[in-house]
Symmetry: D2
Subunit: 350 residues, 4 copies
Amino acid sequence: MNKTLTKPSFTSDYMEGAHPAILEKLSESNFDKTQGYGLDPYSESAREKIRKTCGCPDAEIHFLIGGTQANATVIGALLDSYQGVLSSDEGHINVHEAGAIELGGHKVLTIKYNNGKIHPADLGQWLVDFYNDGNHEHMVFPGMVYISHPTESGTLYSLDELEEISSICKSYKLPLYLDGARMAYALACKENDIQLHDIARLCDVFYIGGTKCGALLGEAVVIPNPRLIPNFFTIVKQHGALPAKGRIAGIQFDTLFSDDLYFRIGQAAIHASDRIRKWLRENNYRFLIESPTNQIMIILENEKLQPLAELVEYGFWDKVDDTHTAIRFATSWATTDEDVDNLIEALMKI
Amino acid sequence: MNKTLTKPSFTSDYMEGAHPAILEKLSESNFDKTQGYGLDPYSESAREKIRKTCGCPDAEIHFLIGGTQANATVIGALLDSYQGVLSSDEGHINVHEAGAIELGGHKVLTIKYNNGKIHPADLGQWLVDFYNDGNHEHMVFPGMVYISHPTESGTLYSLDELEEISSICKSYKLPLYLDGARMAYALACKENDIQLHDIARLCDVFYIGGTKCGALLGEAVVIPNPRLIPNFFTIVKQHGALPAKGRIAGIQFDTLFSDDLYFRIGQAAIHASDRIRKWLRENNYRFLIESPTNQIMIILENEKLQPLAELVEYGFWDKVDDTHTAIRFATSWATTDEDVDNLIEALMKI
Amino acid sequence: MNKTLTKPSFTSDYMEGAHPAILEKLSESNFDKTQGYGLDPYSESAREKIRKTCGCPDAEIHFLIGGTQANATVIGALLDSYQGVLSSDEGHINVHEAGAIELGGHKVLTIKYNNGKIHPADLGQWLVDFYNDGNHEHMVFPGMVYISHPTESGTLYSLDELEEISSICKSYKLPLYLDGARMAYALACKENDIQLHDIARLCDVFYIGGTKCGALLGEAVVIPNPRLIPNFFTIVKQHGALPAKGRIAGIQFDTLFSDDLYFRIGQAAIHASDRIRKWLRENNYRFLIESPTNQIMIILENEKLQPLAELVEYGFWDKVDDTHTAIRFATSWATTDEDVDNLIEALMKI
Amino acid sequence: MNKTLTKPSFTSDYMEGAHPAILEKLSESNFDKTQGYGLDPYSESAREKIRKTCGCPDAEIHFLIGGTQANATVIGALLDSYQGVLSSDEGHINVHEAGAIELGGHKVLTIKYNNGKIHPADLGQWLVDFYNDGNHEHMVFPGMVYISHPTESGTLYSLDELEEISSICKSYKLPLYLDGARMAYALACKENDIQLHDIARLCDVFYIGGTKCGALLGEAVVIPNPRLIPNFFTIVKQHGALPAKGRIAGIQFDTLFSDDLYFRIGQAAIHASDRIRKWLRENNYRFLIESPTNQIMIILENEKLQPLAELVEYGFWDKVDDTHTAIRFATSWATTDEDVDNLIEALMKI
């Protein structure tokens, strides 16, 4: 067996397995025989807990495997053939999903990102401009809006912003879809004023991320109004997103939504990232973007990249200029105080 | 928690969790930090073991999650836009994947199935007829051939048949793709004369099924010639089939291909199904189809369906006539001798 | 310039240009400047005449260029992503459109053809079977029904059959779409009891063929209920089916629906095919299928194929057995009495 | 019949029918019977003339109907499933084709336009950045480059620019595709130094526009290397782009490429646009963009829009600021000296 990473790793939040409680539950239930395709009692129990937590008692909930898959399936289900999905130009679906949305036949219509987010005013203006354009019948119609919370940059929408976006969407009859791949880390931030029941109230579809928040893998797609998408089960199947052993994801979400585990996972990561952020601020590091969640982007002199890489694992983010580079530290439920100490020590050394 | 199934279950081979050795390995490796997207050492170790077992040292191997996803991804990668995939009309891709292949833009071209299989002569004739048709340039071109081993009916190709199909494919320059969702159960049959290295030699792409053969989930897609599909990694991503925690599947296949576990899993299931088959034969049951693998289809009088269902779980397969129905018993690695005893006892009672 | 065909040609109904009245009208209007994209007064006049003829005063009507394009556009507009289109297995969309429907993401679900048609009872049974199948949620859902009139074999639905199919469609909420590529030839048959206003009443969308019925090119897609498909204009554009000079088709349909030209074109062809059919019957030729329209399929001894081909052009249809072949004679508005005389003479010679 | 436009019209170059020579030829050939699907001698003659004019004696040439259709068909044929097409962000395929490219499964990858064009340096930089991005395997790969000549803004590439773009494409193995919807107007400009044989030498596929250059409709897709796209005929059919009466387009292109008609059509339009441009310059009008072809964009005070519209038809182009709007005058082969006089007179009045 090759060696695995031995340096403290802040590369991303999917570098380890699952929260131990999840593995325990998988072992405990291992020999139960249940129906396939998510029709098992574990998945049903997980659904019930999510419905309760989100305050949407009628919600239809499906457990999918991975964010790109969830996005492609939901967006394919919500759009008519001639419609596209509005997204920030930095949106994951626009940049890092290898054309999964286009493979499904739809254009990603972009709005210039603003601190990682779609600014409600920009969304409103885009829609006014579109319908004012005399040629808009020759163009891709907007059919829905995609946002992420936290965003790809680790920033957060405020409740006011989400209310405003939701209200614009309603007035244009555009379903609003929220990608919550890293939802746990938003919920654990003191800066966050959006709770799951707000999301359930303001969005038409959203997913609660498991893979990056302590599960082996799995994302819970929530449709508060169960009449919104007829035959979504079949649509999931068509997208290759219906695991025969659906319970594998169900058991994990059942565990994540027991005893506040999902929230505790977020808190552990934020506790770690807050310590790092504090130290960086006190030591006058430049941030690429101000983000309160588990992703911290700082700008480093290029000559420090290699020395730091010898001590800790981190993510390369972006070239800033000829002499500077943005790098990312991501924490997770598994980041220990010792990991943080090691990171700070490493930064002090270089 | 709702109750799980308590009767002996022969509904399918994906009713329980994973082989305990897999859960053990997941727990053992849980806190290692590794790279994502299948670039971790566990996945690499699994690949190396599969390459060795299949005798294809250069093979490109990717771990996907689920058969429909694997099929859609591979078929999408192999076909040009104007080509379709040749399949038995009972092929999984033609019937039970909710149009995943068509969602990717391709027609499934069908050949009448013959004992669950494509008969080589039928394939040859189809191709002769196609190219003889004066209008074939107005039709979907055949671009590849899809077979499954074991088939959807539980039957097996002979090595001679596979050689013949492969040779037809080569002469028409059609890649041959083999769906091995239940491969372990073929490999464990004494009637089977096709080994993994034959498949690697005769097929252009194939997948070794994990989900239905003892894993939590996961399928290993093997491309013996690594130059066959450029940028397959990106194609996998585009199909939403690239889990961030790729190691979850990698660890499972590393375990399955250690100490012959994959073969032992098959043997356990075939041991059980052989016992059942023997008893059924001795008691003059009618078989819908003669299959040597872990799926047994028998034809039952309708009035016996309900009494049997009260004693054991089984799969409804097909209506045969107004008074008879075909049902399926599927065994798995987890089927115990006691389960088989219970099934036989139940059949004796009704 | 190479030589054009000089033998009498019965190969198909699209071997010549357009009815002279159409060319005249194109010349007459040539220097008028009008808006593009079908928003011109000629197109509007054509629409008004078609609405009147079909008895659907509110119908939305678009002029497209070609049958495959019309089919792909309408079917793409009517289906949700997970739905397929029900068709006879001989349906043009299933066989001779090179996978245009699948390119749009949809499966063609087939019903065994019956005298070229979908038998209403077969349609009903297919739907009962589908919804009774315990696995139907893993399968492509039927989303609409496609029929052609006349059929690809030249046969005709009766009004009773069309009423029955329409009623089944309504009860399953499946839009019914009728491909009228050769509509003029149906309307001119004395055996036909379906008028355009019946079609407009019983179908949700249909197209009136121009290309094969005397136009240079063009098909009129009629949607009796204009609220059925929102933004169909944009869908047409997305399918590359919106000619900038939309008037070219509009002017042609305006001419075809003036002075009963469309009906007269059909009558000329049927007059010719009736003469041929009568002679063939009197001379005991075997028909492949009994068709009353402009397509006649007979079965000929193979040794007569070449001698006949030296005297007239005809269409090769299908191999019947080792010594017989089915061939097709198609008449059109341009077939003259002399052409028919020559064909009969040729048949007498061989 | 509603009235057609009676004011001089500069709205676009597709407001009238066809050049009279085309109608004449259509009439003259009308009763010839020929094979369908572009296999007729007229189409073959047209191909031969185009091959000669372009200096590519082996070229495969197909006649399609409309630019969006040609673009979707060619781009669908050239790209693998995981690839996108590089285009200026103002490219017709990115803005005004209603998502036709995405319907075919492909993303349009955009480069900021520069005077209506892709600047070669920007293309080179985009490609360097893409392959330098550590995450590019999670992104849509560039699979080809799309440019138009003249551009959507009426500007022209220089031969040097085209050589440079072609050379970048070659070094990255990206096919270069040129959209020549308005090619005739480029060829007639004294500022243009790119001839058809340059395009045939430097591009992998291009189309010569008919619809906007004097034909009723039709675009000639030219593939200089006939082995580039196997089975393009079938791909055309699959896109609904293969008219049964293929000769309708063939006859038109045969006429356009006889007696230099295509070039004379361009010259007529440029003669008219040059007169307009000269007058506008002398009268100090502001141009939105400097374009030497048949499209002239000027910036007008908003209060002059309505008075001008009462005297001539023109195209609304874009809002410039709160008090100014860009409008377009397009000339065509049918623009007379009197039309130009009237336009100038109208501009003098307001």
